[in-house]
Symmetry: C2
Subunit: 289 residues, 2 copies
Amino acid sequence: MANKTTELFNLYKDIGQKVHHDCGSQSITDILNSISLECIRYLKRVNKKSLFSQIPDKKYFSFEIKKIFSRPVNAELWLEDVDFLKKFFIKLRGADLRGLSISDITKAFYTIAMGFCCFVDLNKSRDQKTPGTFFEYLIGHVFARVLGVNPRRQLEVLNLDMKSTLPTDFIFDLGPKKAKLHLPIKTSTRERVIQVWAHQRVLDGVYGTGRFRGTLVCLTETKMDRNSLEVIEICLPDQWRLYQMFIAQLTRVYYLDVPRRYEELNRVFPKITVAPFGQFFFELEALIS
Amino acid sequence: MANKTTELFNLYKDIGQKVHHDCGSQSITDILNSISLECIRYLKRVNKKSLFSQIPDKKYFSFEIKKIFSRPVNAELWLEDVDFLKKFFIKLRGADLRGLSISDITKAFYTIAMGFCCFVDLNKSRDQKTPGTFFEYLIGHVFARVLGVNPRRQLEVLNLDMKSTLPTDFIFDLGPKKAKLHLPIKTSTRERVIQVWAHQRVLDGVYGTGRFRGTLVCLTETKMDRNSLEVIEICLPDQWRLYQMFIAQLTRVYYLDVPRRYEELNRVFPKITVAPFGQFFFELEALIS
C-alpha cells in the first residue's frame, strides 16, 4: 500500500502547486479524476462495515481494514459506478453540469470527496489536515471552473486612514455590478462555524452589507463512535438561528450530505437556505445578481 | 516519573470535579497550590535550554529532557521562589491580592499556569487539551474567588417566540444594575480569536450592547521552532482592529505574557485595552460598573 499512498499523495500535492496559479484549470480536473478513480477502485476491495445510524432514513457504513475504520459514509450518496464518474468528469472538464440532476451532481462530488478522505483515514492515522485541504481544493476548483474566475484569499482594506489586508476564505470577484462570493469550505463545522458568520460580518462592514454573498460549503456533520459503531449528526440549529439574526446573513449553506436537523432551517425564521451542493449549479446566476 | 504524572493528573481531575459545584472554593485554591509547588519543584531539576528570542527585550527558555522540549517560557515572568508563591497562595485564599504589585500578580499566575503546562509538555506528548483546560480552571477560579460569584456556561435566550440556550464561555452575573462579565479564556488565540468577538456580538444583540463586558484572558502568543529554537509571537493586530470596529467591542484583553505587538493597540484607534493580567485586580470595580 505504501506505493499507492505515495502516488495519491503526490497527485494531491500536484493540485496544491497548481491551485495557486490557476484554480479552475482543466489539468486540476484531470488530477481530481485520477485521484477519484484510484480511490474508488481501492475502496471497492475494502470491507464495508454497516454502522448503527441514529439519523432518520439515512444508512451509513465505514470502510474497515483490520479494525481501522474510515469516517462514516452515507450509503445512498456513495457511487461505485466508475462509468458514471468518468462521464461526470467529462462534463466537469467542460465546466457544464446542467445536464445532470441535483441529486446526481451531489452524489458525484460526495463520492469524489469521501473517496479520498476515506483513503487517508485508512492509510494515515490522525491526519485530519489532508482531507480538509483536499476538500478545499475540490470545491474551490469547481467554483473557479464554473465561474471562470480565480479566487482570492485576501482582500485589501482601504478605509480612510487605515490600510491593511484581511485574510479570508475563498473570495470570487465576478466584476463590477455583480455580487461577489464569500466561500468558506469545511469538511464539518461544529462550534467553529461561528467564524463563518463573523467573517461575513466583517465583509459586510468593510465593503457594504450583502456585497459579498456568504456561501458556506460543507461535506457532512456526522460523528461516529468507534466502540458502539453508532453514527449521529452534530447539529446546532438554534445557534445558527442566533448567528443569522445577530451576526450576519449567510446566503446559502450547501452540504454534500445535508444534515437532517439543518433541513428544517429552510422552513423557520430566520430563513437559512440549506441545500444539497448540486443545487448550486442551477441557481448560480441568481446567487450573484 | 509515572507516579508523579498520575498524582498531578489526579489533582487536576479533582479540580474538574469541584469546579462545577463551586468554582471559587478555597479547596480549589489549595489544589492549585499543591499542583503549582509540585510542578516548580519538578522543573527546578530540569535543564533549561536558552532559546533564540526574536521578540524585542524578551528572553525565553525551554525546559528540556532528552530532546523533548516544553513550550517557551518567558525568563522574566518565571518565578522559582517557592516562598513567594506560598505567600501568594495565602493571599489568594483570602481572595484579596491588592497588597501585591500588578507585576508580581502577573508573574505568579504566569508561573502557576506555565508550570503545569510545561510539566504536561514534558510528560504527555501531543496533549494540548489538558493545559488548555487547566488554564481555564485557573482563571475561572480566580474570577469566581475574587468576584464571589459562580460562573455560568450557558445563557437562556428568551426572545419573543424564540426560546433556546446559548452556550458561551464563562459568564459572571453580578446581579441587577451591574454589568456582567463575558470571560473567554485561551492559552493562545491565533486566527480562532474571531470567535471571541463573534460571541460578544451575539451577547450584545440578544441582551443589549455593553451589558456583558467582553474580557478575554490569554496566556501567551509565543511560537517556538523546534529545529532552530527560535521564538516568535504570532500577532494579528490589524485583524483585531477590524474585529473591534466591525464585529463588537471587547472591554479588556488580559495576557499573562503581553505580546509586544498587541501593546501598541492601547495607543491607536480603535482602542483595544491590552493589559497584563495583574491589572484586573486593580480595575475590577470600574469594569463591572
